[in-house]
Amino acid sequence: MAARETTVNVLLVLLLPAVALTALFIGEAFYITLATRIAILALAAVGLNIALGLGGLVSFGHAAFFGLGGYVAGVLATHAFNMEPVALGLPGTTDMPVIWLAAILLCGLVALPIGLVSLRTSGVYFIMITLAFAQMIYYFAISWPAYGGEDGLSLSMRNGFPGLNTARPFPYFIVVFVLLLAGLFLFHRLQASRFGAALEAARQNPARLAATGISPFAIRLVAFVLSAMITGLAGALFADLNRFVSPSMLSWHMSGELIVLIILGGKSRLFGPLAGAALYVLFEYALGGLTERWQLFLGLVLLAVVFFARGGLIGLLAGRPRHG
Amino acid sequence: MSLLVLEEIETFYGASQALFGVSLAVGEGEVVALMGRNGMGKTTTIRSILGLTPARAGRIAFGGKTVTALLPHRIARLGIGLVPEGRRCFANLTVEENLLASARRGAWTLAKVVDLFPRLGERLGQYADTLSGGEQQMLAIGRALMTNPKLLILDEATEGLAPVIRQDIWAAIRRLKAGGQSILVVDKTLSELLPLTDRCCVLEKGRTVFSGPPPVFTRDLQDRYLGV
C-alpha cells in the first residue's frame, strides 16, 4: 500500500509541470496560470494541513494568514511603486524573496498571539475562535481605506525574482512549483519527525501526551505558527498570481475553501492538499465553462467524494493511510 | 430450550478476522461464563451477539429467532441487557438520566438499582464522566438492569470495583440467577465465577475450544487455557 501511495504521489507531482510544459509548448498560457493557481492553493492547504491534518486543529481562520501574506505582497509593492516608506522608514520592495520573508515573518508574528489565545480552547470552540480572529482582520481590511478597503489593491505588475522574468507565466509557475515542493518536503519530514509524532499524539490524546512529559500546548502552538507561515507564503504568491489582493482573500469563505481542499484530497495525507486543490480548481474551471448551474454540480461532485472516496481523493487512489 | 445460540460464527474487524468459529449456548435461567486469555475474542463474541460487529458467517439465534442480520437496537429489544467492557456510560447525561434513558418496564426500577448501589443514589444528579471508575461500573450495571432483560450480558462487570462491592455484585448475580435470570458473563475472578456458573465456554484465538460445566473444567484445563 505504501508503494501505491508513493506512485500516486509521484504522478501527482508530475501532473502540474506536465500540464505547464504542455501548455507552454502548445502556446496555451492560461493552463500554466491554472497550474500555478492549483500549486498556490495546494501550498496554502499544505500549511493548514500541518495544523488541521496532523494536529487536529481545525482552524477556520487560516484565510487571515493567506490574506495577510497577500497584503504583504500588495502593500510592499505599492510602497515600492510610490516610494513612500511602509513603516518606521522601511521602504517597500518588489523583490519576491524579501516579500516572502516578510509575509512569513508577519504571519508567524500574528499567529503567535492568536494561537496563544485560541489554543486554550479545543474542538468546535477552536474552530470558532479562529474564525473570530479572522473576521476581525477581515472587517478591518474592508473598512480601512488606505489600501483600497473592500475594493482591494491592484499590483501594477508582478513582483520580481532575481534572474527570472516572473511576468511570464512559465517562469512564475516554476517559482511557485519549487516552493510547493519545498512545502511538501517540509510537511513530509515534519510528519515523520519527533515533532510530528508529538503533534499527532496531541491530536489523538493530549492527556496522554502531557503525562509522558510533552506539553501539548507548546507543540500545538509551534504547529499553528508554522502552519500560518506557510499559508501566508502562499498568500503572497497568490497576490502575485492575480496581481491583486482584496479582503475576499481574508474572508471565511476562503478559510472554508482551504479546509474543503484538504478534506477533498485526504486529511493529514502528504499529497491531500495538492490532490484536493487540483480537483477543486479543475471542477470549478470545467463546470464553470459548461453551465451557469456549475455550483450545483460542484456540490454533487463533493458529495460523491464524501461517499465514494473515503479518506478523500488520496484515500481513493492510494488506499488507507499507513499507521506506524 | 436455549435462549441464545451461536453456531460457528466468524467475525471480522475490517479485513482482520477476530472470530474463527465460536459456538455457544445459553439456556433459560442459565449462567454461562465466557472465558479466555486477553485478546482471544470474548468481547468480539459479545459484540457479534448484539450486532455491533455483525458476524459474517455462522448463525446467532435469540429466543428462537435468528438475529444475525438484525440491527443492534432490534436485537437488544428482544431482551438483551449489556454491560459493556469499559463501562461506556453516557458522559453528558447525569446518573439518573443514564439509568432512565433506555429503561424498559419490569421488575428493575430506579429505586431498586439505587438500593443495590447506594453510592449511585448519592450521585444521581452528577454527570457520568465525573464519576469514579467504580461508580461508572455500577452505573453501567444499573443501566443494563433497568432494561429488564431476559439475558444479561456482563463483560468484565466487576472490573475496578472494591472488594465489598464486588461481593455485593456477586451476591446480586446469585440472586438474579435464583430468580431465573439468564446471564452470560465474562470475568477474571474464577473463584467467584466458577461456583456460580452452569457452564464454562473457553475461547482461544477466536475459536471455542472448551465447553462444559465447571466440574469438568479442571485445574489442568484452567491452566492450559487461562494460565492460572
Partner: protein, 356 residues
C-alpha cells in the same frame, strides 16, 4: 473577421439577478443586430474577485477575446480591469464605476458605459436641496459606501441630521431606524445595495417612521422592487434611465426585452444593452484588431442610447442626464416614473485628474 467578446458576470449566488439581467440584455442586443460575426464567451464569477481574475486570464490568454465586459461589482472590476487593460484588452463597464478608475488610473482601454459611482448620489444630493434642509444619510462601511455619501454631500447643501456607516451585509436596521427617528431629520438618504436595501426598506416601512426616504436608483430598480413591495411606493430615487424614458431606442428596448424574457428590464439590463450597442456601432466603423481605430470608434459613442443623450468624457466615462424617478404602481406592478431631471450633461468629479 469574428469579434470575440468576453462577458464575466455574476450568475450564481445572491447577486445573480443583476448579472442575469446584464447578460440577457447583452445577448438580446447582439441577437437583434443580426451580426453573426460576434462570438460571446460568458462565464460566472460567483461574485468572487479571485475567480473573476482567473476567468479574465482565461479569456485573454486562452479564448483570446478582443473585448471584455460584464462585471457588476466595483470590487470585482478593481480586480480585473487594471490587469486586463494593461494587456491591451479593451474593457467596457456595463455597471460599476469606481473612482480609482476614473481619475489618475484612467486608461485608454477602459470605457465606462454606465456611470461613475458617485453620479447617482450626486444627483440625489442636488435634487434633495429642493425639498429638504436636514437629512440623515447612511451607507455601508466600505469604499463604495463612503464614495456614495461623499458624492451626495458634494451637492447637498442642507444640514446633516446624522451620518451613519452600517456593517457590510447587515440585515437588521432597527438601531439605525431608531436613531433616524430620534435625529429630528426631515429626510433620509441611504445607499444600501442588494439585500441590505431591501431589508432596510421593509423594516423602515414597518417601523412606522414617517420621515421621507430617498435613495439611488439601484435600491429601487426593477430587480428589487417586487421584493420591497408597497413600502417603496412614492420613494424618489435617482437614475440615468427609466423604462418610460421617451426615445425610440428605449421603447424598442423595453418592448424587445419584455417580449423575450417576459419581465421588465432593470437599469442593469439597460446599461448592458447600451454597452452592446456601443460595441456594435464601433464594429461597424473599425476593426477590433486595429486597437487605435477601434478605441476612437468607441469614443465617438455613435449609437442610439436608451438613455437618450450619451457621450464620453475625457476619461472615457459618460456625460449624460441624470433623472429623478418615483416609484409608482402600474396595475399591480411596481416601477419607476421620471419626475425631474437633476443634472443635464453631467460628467464626474474625477475627469480632470485623468491625464488621457
Amino acid at each position: 473577421e469574428p469579434v470575440k467578446i468576453g462577458v464575466i458576470t455574476t450568475l450564481s449566488g445572491g447577486g445573480a439577478g443583476l448579472g442575469v439581467d446584464m447578460r440577457d440584455a447583452f445577448q438580446l442586443a447582439i441577437k437583434q443586430s443580426g451580426n453573426s460575426e460576434i462570438e460571446l464567451v460568458v462565464e460566472d464569477d460567483a461574485q468572487k474577485p479571485e475567480l473573476a481574475v482567473q476567468i479574465a486570464e482565461k479569456m485573454i490568454q486562452s479564448d483570446k477575446v478582443d473585448l471584455m465586459t460584464g462585471i457588476i461589482w466595483s470590487n470585482l472590476a478593481m480586480a480585473v480591469v487594471p490587469n486586463a487593460v494593461a494587456q491591451d484588452v479593451i474593457y467596457l463597464s456595463p455597471n460599476a464605476g469606481p473612482s480609482a478608475l476614473a481619475g489618475a488610473n484612467c486608461h485608454p482601454n477602459y470605457f465606462n458605459v454606465a456611470y461613475q459611482n458617485d453620479n447617482f448620489h450626486e444627483a440625489m444630493g442636488e435634487y434633495d436641496n429642493k425639498d429638504y434642509k436636514k437629512t440623515f444619510i447612511l451607507a455601508p462601511n466600505y469604499p463604495a459606501g463612503k464614495d456614495a455619501l461623499t458624492g451626495f454631500k458634494r451637492y447637498y447643501k442642507g444640514e446633516l441630521a446624522g451620518e451613519v456607516y452600517t456593517q457590510v451585509g447587515q440585515t437588521d436596521y432597527a438601531a439605525e431606524i431608531a436613531e433616524i427617528r430620534a435625529s429630528g431629520a426631515d429626510s433620509v438618504y441611504f445607499f444600501l445595495p442588494g439585500g441590505m436595501g431591501i431589508a432596510f426598506m421593509k423594516q423602515y416601512a414597518q417601523s412606522g417612521v414617517a420621515i421621507p426616504v430617498t435613495g439611488p436608483g439601484f435600491s429601487f430598480s426593477q430587480d428589487v422592487l417586487p421584493a420591497i413591495g408597497d413600502a417603496a411606493l412614492g420613494v424618489k430615487n435617482s437614475g440615468t434611465w427609466a423604462k418610460d424614458l421617451d426615445n425610440p431606442a428605449n421603447k424598442a428596448f423595453v418592448e424587445a426585452f419584455q417580449k423575450e424574457y417576459n419581465r421588465l428590464p432593470s437599469i442593469y439590463a439597460a446599461q448592458s444593452w447600451d454597452t452592446a450597442n456601443l460595441i456594435l456601432s464601433a464594429i461597424g466603423k473599425a476593426s477590433v484588431k486595429d486597437k487605435d481605430a477601434f478605441r476612437a470608434a468607441l469614443k465617438e459613442a455613435d449609437f442610439a442610447s436608451v438613455r437618450g443623450k450619451f457621450k464620453f468624457n475625457t476619461n472615457n466615462h459618460p456625460i449624460q442626464d441624470i433623472y429623478v424617478t418615483e416609484v409608482v404602481k402600474e396595475g399591480d406592478v411596481l416601477t419607476n416614473k421620471i419626475i425631474a431631471t437633476a443634472f443635464t450633461d453631467h460628467g464626474d468629479a474625477y475627469a480632470d485628474k485623468c491625464s488621457m
